[in-house]
Symmetry: C2
Subunit: 181 residues, 2 copies
Amino acid sequence: MSLKFALLGFLVEQPMTGYDLRKAMEASVGHFWTADQAQIYRTLSGLVDEGLVTVDVVEQETRPNRRVHRICPAGEDALDAWLASPLEPVPVREPFLMRTFFGGRLKVEAIEHLLTARIDEATQLVSLLSAIRQQQSTPTSLSMHLRIATLDNGIAHGQAEIDWAKTVLNGLGAWHGTDLT
Amino acid sequence: MSLKFALLGFLVEQPMTGYDLRKAMEASVGHFWTADQAQIYRTLSGLVDEGLVTVDVVEQETRPNRRVHRICPAGEDALDAWLASPLEPVPVREPFLMRTFFGGRLKVEAIEHLLTARIDEATQLVSLLSAIRQQQSTPTSLSMHLRIATLDNGIAHGQAEIDWAKTVLNGLGAWHGTDLT
DNA sequence: ATATAATATAGGATGTGTCCTATATTATGG
DNA sequence: CCATAATATAGGACACATCCTATATTATAT
């Protein structure tokens, strides 16, 4: 998927180890892309096999050697090709909505609990992203503008989820104490 | 994941074949859960192995026999347990935001193209969901209320995406004709 | 004083889902 | 008249990702 290109994108900025990449991703794209450590290493060696990335081994005594990955021109080409390529359809999969869909089997109180938990989670996420967003200075480049935009996207969807859940919660009153699902 | 429970949820309403389930899902939860045909059949036979579902074979001459699946009491219990269980953390993965994040490598026009395509897609989705939403009568049960709520969720997020993309698009003007990424 | 986090890589097992294929007939659309 | 959609199931191959494990030392936190 896009992990491959995410790695290439980060390696454009500077050569990094798998470990560095994991941290860099967690700190920047973590809110819209979670990457497993094992997956990063596997994808990274795949990039090396494809000739898009080279490795410099830096010997270390106490820890495993640092394998510093550097992007090749072919890697940059692959990244640019991907950026301009048509958007692949994303499989949608929302376990929470699946629960909502069959929630009629639950007691109203249990549904309220589900929804308030959802609101709490989304509120926390929005707070976190907003805090990071506040720390950003006014964008002086297109790149910065776009990176901040990804934060705004998370905030917008988080807020949409909160608003939606509150509306559903309010509409639930009509079925309080009712057992006719 | 939740596919297992989605199948159980649908089988509560009436016994169905794998084929029926695929159609039922596409028509109702399709906007927040895409299910592959092969995956449905495999998951379904898994449910049979677990003893949560039984099968009646209806002989047919011209086509493969219909294997009608019926939920067992154990299946209903499993469904209810899942509905009340804590929410598993969902892995986030948004290829479009990954592209946005590294979009600084593209020309401003190319980014505009990405964003307008995104707006078009989201607009289409919102139209489709809104049309379905309009066809719904006023909910007379908790179940109906919640099912309609899943539609509203899709509409809300679609609209949030449209609003966000338009804002980003407007902010892009400042970098028109600039090459300093 | 002791535990755990940080540094750094990588393999095996497992799960979940997609894609493609096979099979066979009838109905519908252009 | 011909193609393809609908009906109905299911297996093989493969991709992508997660979880767990192993290894080894230092720094930090309780």
